[in-house]
Chain length 385, copies 4
């Protein structure tokens, strides 16, 4: 998912991948340490000047990512070397004010929430753009008759507008759930070693970082993580549905839609081919998501006040989940914004159905009044909230 | 998950398993056909008397489950033989009013939502009882000092009340999400063959069955299914966390809690043993859940107006998911309602920490003022909504 | 997966589902108790006459499945009530010879292996029949030119025989792995309470039941379970690939193959439709498999000498995995045995490719010499082993 | 999993992570192009001198990873820009001999197999070292009595040697399966655009790269990928079992084992703590594995001659699977090689069992004769093959 990933173009499109990089995590952890020391100053646990000095030192470019990663392995958390390095930065005098009353999980979990917030902002933005594009297709193709297909067999006529309206509603409903979970779920963690710290510091940190102040520390009660994962997975699933439709409608034998984007999708050896690259990329990302969510859910079984393994498995899993859903959303937006519709072919393919004796296929417009009403409902629903 | 399942005692506790049986599904499908014909009567598509006669025939005891199952295989859906059997029941005259304008997926999906609604009602009820029990433990053990443990090592003192408050908040937050998804997610499906049916019939059916009327038919846009699955999985994960804690605290070397319930947990050969049966059963159920959710999410990739395979894979998966989460909730409630706490052992185990030089462990009460404040927050949060 | 399952026609085709029923499990557990007492007699731990009497009592029709299931819940295993009931059957005198030196997991695990052996025998038989059918298609359609398709786009000509040869090799390689794992993996468990029982009894039991005698008891070292699951999942995946191809080739716009089987695949409302029921059923089963395997693998993390939850989660998961893979194999066999090929349409669809300027498509036979050589390799490989 | 990953110390220990980096993939793809052109020269399709020149140009340092990744996104494969860049390197004259008759999937799949071979070599080497360490523990602690524990309750005495022998057999059996799958499963892909290329070129390439020559091209028949994934997952599961045992035996209240390694496992705030860092890291890696395998298996459903999405999802998934299993194996080896056993505490903990009335616990040696025999069996089995 980094620049070093040869497949980054497929898996890491959009802003989410960069927002989950090692550097982004390190930066988030430093912001948490800065917010913590400021919160402690407000609570008069740290002198204001000391807090300002420490917070000012929390700049990612001063720290050596690789050294922290390597040393972190000795502790199964990068926070130990990070705190050590930060203490060195601020000098012996101020060292004791760094990381005051916190446990390493406080820093990692709060940083994870910051990372999730930033990465998922890209996801939501791309999803909303995709919603706009789907709405446009629904509107524009309100009267574009095509064959509905069930179990991959032609069934009865429908309109492409109604199909696009289905995409629209799916994207909208999934995005609403994701946005909601971003609002209520992304909370600071500031419980101290066993989760018994008074909540006032957490509240200051939450206010500063724009995160929720939770009822309790949630070191081993991972509802927030699971719910975010579920919301991401639901969105990825809707994107996969759309991409699957596009690959099917793009088949040479169907040819009712075509991906836009000049120069894209060429083959190394077959000059006549035009591959549905965006749809394939959506699917490549989205298919990796359900397994990651199974991991997140299985890791909810966490021991006592801090887990031995299940929590540490979350870090990379959640990063991948954000990056892949983000890439799927970015590819999906691109797919919808550029999608080309072939009205003529849609109509031609309906003749097969008429030939099979389906009366409605001969004059589909006579039978599709409800489709337009349904599209209006979809447009209205997606424009609220 | 049926009576024929030798492991039904473990996997099928509580009401959810029975609510997802073959008979429950068949009953739900018949209720949908009845609601449909009544809705058609309201729309003046079917004479009122015909509708009444048909609806009256929709009684599960009149139908042969095994025959429908066997014949259904020829169509990859039990609706074909069900409709045929229902038409036979009502006679040639009325046959044409049966299943009017519907497609088989309309019946199965709406029935699935009814099944989900009923099964999840048991889940929520057991979860709420578990919340009550956890609140009681939090309240009663506000001052019961114990060793907090991180990475399975003794860390610093905490209270058992705070541990129970963590369980409480987790159960509460997961149940809120599940209840919410039950409210907004469980919708009728009444789109007809390609999803283009006017929404008025769906609205009547929704009103009658107590389900949501969706913006559009959602035959291949499975946000509702995925979101429900995610909410169930999150609850199952919290239950697993609690059960994991109980197995660990019940170890002979720790012995801080013990499952109640006389006669339970005996071994075939080791008379001295007392196994944590309820906790083990919660874990046996909950560990089966994440994989099922991965299946539901992977199956969101559905083709065109009706999927070839991905939809049909949902039926059994969602049944298992409801039954297993329900059994986990029922076992979890039982576990919490009967849990016995050993204050003395908790205190004894703290002496080890004191001996290791942890000053707080000697007089933990001096250091745990915030725990009580946190418990109050938890109790307050869980009592609202 | 039982007769009570309304969807049993889809999920429970072939013999594997019945071979994993509650009754089949109970029968297997009784056979294990019988084999155990005979082995103890050989080791002179039990009088020969007592062993014969006890073994004779181990008949499933004498036991009450529902009572054992219900009572089993109190112990998180049905073995406790089963042993109790068996002891009652044989009388006070002989009771002490029942279950001698065994632990409940010995009985459940050995029974699980018997169940797996029997159920997977159906799976392998259906897979082998599918292999035969695929070989026939490869042979018969050696010269049947069709369009190869990559990323769902027409690419270059191939032959249907080569496509079928690919299915053949996949089925063969997956079946070889499954057969191999059945041979070496399916072992008795007879370790006693903590796995320290001398291996001689296990060896007698293994010989009698036709299972492997393992190096050590494997109560919490689940390589055998995981490897079997992996082999089942690989076969299910190959079947899914074939079924996916059939759904795509059956599309009205492609129509190169059609499922055989008269009367099948009708729609409730669309008389002109013919749904690919067998392919859809393969996919419905196979899509449920990967999540189940994730569960089996995640459950390998088992504690000490017997797990608290992870082992108990295996029972239902492995039953479902066997039944679903078995159903997929049975449907897949049926699919391949009846598949109808439309040579004319294959040729027609190639003209599109020729029109797009692909020279090879005009006279595909000139370019497909290697296909025939490859088919011969496939037929030869699949006929060995 | 790269150097840019802040959690690389946890997830990327051992050689496998580096062997799956973007650079390692690029290098492997270039080796495949080199082997291909040499194979074509042997088949007299390319002049020997041209082949030598092209092969010499296939050096990773001459190519721009980031540019290839970025441009690859336009084609959903990095092979298009790679071939373009390689053609530029060798000049217009020789360009036509580059990538002759191959399709991009040939290059990616064969490279994937090379990457898998190299990465899994580290996995196997670490697993074998872990086997050696487990054998040493089994041997050394043949007579070290400890409490066996079932459902996390003390059960009957066993020996630590027997526990270690169980680990040994599990590691051995999983490694045998992995080694076997490396031998037979890792095959070249060289089928050309639709898999119809004559097998002679594939055979040359296989011989040169040390991979298997398959019966047929396997572009969409992914038995090899699935079987490798299953074998990796089985090994990861055994490692998780060992690590779980170590975390449990390391609890302060049990203290029967302790991780070695000075300086490791310190806490940011609790000086008295010593965290089981290696065990936690094994678990952090291993818990991420089952979900990845579910993805690989779900992705077996691939369309026609090349998949649209399911194949592309494999790349990152298989990389992660190799790296994480490798890291788990490396951490597991480290864990076993340094594990410290506390015989005295094991004996002390048995007194609790004796006090509970378990006669065997008073003089466990009298009851554990079979344990030593079982250990010998384990040592013998693990030393063969």
């Amino acid at each position: 998912m980094t620049l070093e990933d040869l497949f980054g173009g497929v898996y890491g499109r959009g802003g989410a991948a960069a927002a989950t990089s090692g550097r982004a995590w390190l930066q988030a952890m430093l912001e948490v340490e800065a917010a913590l020391v400021r919160a402690c100053a407000r609570e008069r646990l740290v002198p204001a000047q000391a807090a300002a000095t420490i917070a000012a030192a929390c700049r990612v470019e001063r720290f050596d990512l690789q050294a922290i990663s390597a040393e972190g392995a000795e502790h199964a958390t990068p926070v130990v070397p990070l705190v050590r390095a930060l203490r060195r930065q601020v000098g012996e005098e101020l060292a004791r004010y760094v990381h005051l009353g916190a446990t390493s999980q406080d820093i990692v979990d709060t940083a994870a929430m910051l990372v999730a917030k930033r990465a998922s902002e890209f996801v939501v933005a791309d999803a909303r753009a995709a919603i706009g594009a789907a709405a446009g297709l629904a509107q524009d193709h309100r009267g574009t008759a095509m064959s509905g297909r069930t179990l991959l067999q032609q069934a009865l006529p429908t309109t492409f507008g109604l199909r696009a309206a289905g995409w629209l509603v799916g994207l909208h409903e999934a995005t609403v759930r994701l946005a909601e979970e971003r609002e209520r779920g992304l909370a600071v963690q500031m419980g101290g070693p066993v989760g018994a710290r008074a909540p006032s510091v957490a509240e200051h940190v939450a206010a500063e970082l724009g995160l929720v102040a939770p009822t309790l520390p949630w070191h081993t009660v991972r509802v927030r993580v699971a719910a975010l994962a579920g919301a991401l997975g639901t969105l990825a699933g809707v994107l996969a549905k759309i991409a699957r439709d596009v690959t099917l409608l793009s088949q040479n034998e169907v040819e009712e839609v075509r991906e836009g984007g000049s120069g894209r999708g060429g083959s190394t050896v077959m000059a006549h081919k035009r591959n549905p690259v965006a749809a394939v990329s959506v699917l490549a990302c989205a298919r990796r998501v359900p397994g990651l969510i199974a991991t997140i859910l299985a890791c909810m079984e966490q021991e006592h006040e801090r887990a031995a393994g299940a929590w540490q498995a979350e870090w990379g899993t959640m990063s991948d989940l954000l990056a892949l859903t983000g890439s799927a959303a970015s590819w999906g937006r691109d797919l919808l914004e550029r999608l080309e519709i072939d009205r003529r072919r849609m109509r031609e393919n309906l003749t097969r159905l008429a030939a099979a004796g389906v009366a409605e296929a001969a004059e589909p417009e006579l039978h599709l009044g409800a489709a337009s009403e349904l599209i209006d409902r979809a447009l209205a629903a997606a424009s609220t909230a």
